[in-house]
């Protein structure tokens, strides 16, 4: 600042620039103090900083070898990353998908052919589902082989099995939505399998299909399952799963 004040008359344009810069800095500073005002008040009540610091500094254990640490310790986290990808791509698909018997197939064709990058988002959602299930299986296998489900982590395992069932439910309900030959007949055969359950099988099949055959009601039900009911329940169990992992700590490596 001292330099610009000295040659005030000679460097008029420069001073203007300095002035603009100064004002911009002040604006940014004001904005930050505003955030600080809000954040500070929230932090006063809720201790964000302390909670965050505690979460961030929590140590992650090593396994016997570097390879094991990288491959075994990542499976659950990678499953979560894939769930996030499924949510993101799923919401994007939801913007264009129309869940009716007459329009579902057409809308999926539009997503693949006309919507910018629709083919990519749809491909990622379809492949993400398979990768997620592979990852969840491997995660479960790892927890089983290392005996990480043993006390005090019994309920973490139970919530994990529920999450596995939910993941399979996502796969089953999502498969019908493109409304092509494969999805229609795979769902017909799949729901037929439900009727093999003793006593309640037939009723259950009727309930899932919303009638004797797979039709509009089935599509509506599968759609509701896939985008509202299952995501809600999954969020709940994910929270429980994570809270228990945090609370009980990561199991000792073998």
């Amino acid at each position: 600042m001292t330099g610009s004040q000295k040659n005030d008359t000679e460097r008029q344009p420069q001073t203007d620039l300095e002035e603009t810069k100064k004002r911009a800095y002040i604006d940014i500073l004001n904005l930050m103090s505003l955030i600080g005002f809000l954040y500070g008040a929230l932090d006063d009540r809720l201790d964000f900083d302390e909670a965050l610091a505690q979460q961030l500094k929590k140590p992650a254990p090593h396994y016997r070898t570097k390879l094991e640490t990288n491959l075994l310790a990542c499976l659950g986290g990678m499953s979560f990353v894939l769930i996030l990808v499924q949510i993101l791509t799923g919401v994007l698909l939801l913007f264009y998908y129309r869940p009716t018997v007459s329009e579902a197939y057409q809308s999926v064709m539009e997503i693949t052919g006309q919507v910018p990058f629709g083919w990519l988002i749809r491909g990622m959602h379809a492949w993400g589902a398979s990768l997620l299930i592979v990852m969840v299986f491997l995660h479960m296998l790892r927890v089983f082989l290392t005996g990480a489900y043993k006390p005090p982590r019994e309920l973490t395992w139970v919530s994990g099995v529920v999450l596995l069932a939910l993941t399979l439910g996502f796969g089953f309900s999502g498969y019908l939505l493109p409304w092509n030959q494969l999805s229609y007949w795979a769902t017909t055969v799949g729901t037929e399998g439900v009727s093999a359950i003793p006593l309640v099988g037939e009723t259950l099949k009727y309930l899932i299909r919303g009638g004797h055959d797979v039709g509009q009601l089935a599509l509506t039900r599968f759609f509701a399952m896939h985008v509202v009911i299952l995501p809600g329940i999954t969020m709940l169990f994910l929270t429980v799963h994570f809270l228990m992992i945090r609370r009980l700590g990561i199991a000792d490596p073998l």
Partner: protein, 140 residues
């Protein structure tokens, strides 16, 4: 407050060490996902037609094992007409319940592989059976 815990093979801070390593893995995972989506897009299939049954109906790969198991149970008809469906469903239900209640069934406190031979044998057998039935379903 939690006590400081010492780990057998050491540990690293969650942030930034562990997070950065995970980010590398996430990048690899995303690269794999985008490559699969780009090079192997979902196949083009005709619109659903309730009046035309395709020749080969197969579920998604992760349901193939269960599907194939039900089909294999069909061969148990010599026991009685009830046998295939009941046994096919019952066995899968039992496996599901076993999985759910595993921590309460397997009360062996040791986590060392040499001290839990039965649990590991049963678990690995089930995993291999799952793979075999999936492959059987895929190639039949």
């Amino acid at each position: 407050m939690e006590k400081e815990k010492t780990w057998k093979y050491g540990s690293e801070p969650f942030y930034p060490n562990h997070i950065l390593k995970q980010l590398v893995l996430i990048c690899i995972l995303m690269a794999l996902l985008v490559s699969l989506a780009a090079f192997f897009p979902p196949p083009y299939l005709p619109k659903a037609d309730p009046y035309v049954t395709p020749e080969h109906i197969k579920p998604e790969w992760y349901f193939l094992a269960a599907y194939q198991f039900l089909k294999a149970a069909d061969k148990l008809q010599f026991i009685g007409m009830w046998a295939p469906k009941i046994i096919g469903i019952l066995a899968q239900g039992v496996i599901g319940l076993l999985l759910f209640f595993l921590p309460f069934i397997d009360r062996n406190p040791s986590v060392r592989p040499s001290e839990r031979p039965y649990a590991l044998r049963i678990g690995i057998t089930l995993a291999i059976l799952y793979i075999i039935f999936t492959a059987w379903g895929y190639f039949s």
